[in-house]
Subunit: 101 residues, 2 copies
């Protein structure tokens, strides 16, 4: 399992709009066959800090995700809501087993 | 959902031993009623960097976890395997809905 953590720092005053757009994208992403999970986390001590936890069944599924309409709409919608450019880190999911994600 | 990311940097030569102990702890932790998930992630470009992703149904469940035998065995087993003290960050899981974790 390829797990990508996407870190987003949202501008003050844009948290609600970012949340709305991101939940819409998360719901659509979860319907992609190559996506096992698409969690949205908000940092407890900094509500402007978010992580998108994207679990892909293969690296190719991560490529396919970026070709979807819902991803592109999200990317364009939130572009001006970010305080700094977003960053990401890739992980290999070693637990649970592949089929349990 | 309270989601805790625990960051661990493992000493060179201790990766296999850390993985074994951590998978044992993850399996037992997942059997706790207050734990919805207990993922183990290994950083793609740095195999000595791990994140434990612990999803608790309530803050009290995080307290109960630390009282379990399997947590305490893991804590003591891996204490000398870490290159630096581990750190953690707390998040609120805002997607998916509580029952979907």
């Amino acid at each position: 399992m390829l797990v990508v953590h996407v870190f987003v720092q949202v501008k003050t005053g844009k948290i609600d709009a970012f949340t709305t757009a991101t939940l819409e994208n998360a719901r659509s992403s979860l319907a992609e066959p190559g996506i096992a999970r698409f969690d949205v986390l908000q940092q407890a001590d900094d509500p402007s800090a978010f992580i998108l936890v994207e679990a892909y069944r293969s690296p190719h599924d991560a490529v396919l995700h970026k070709e979807t309409r819902h991803y592109q709409v999200w990317r364009d919608t939130v572009a001006d809501m970010m305080a700094v450019p977003r960053t990401s880190v890739k992980y290999s999911g070693i637990f649970p087993d592949e089929k349990e994600w």
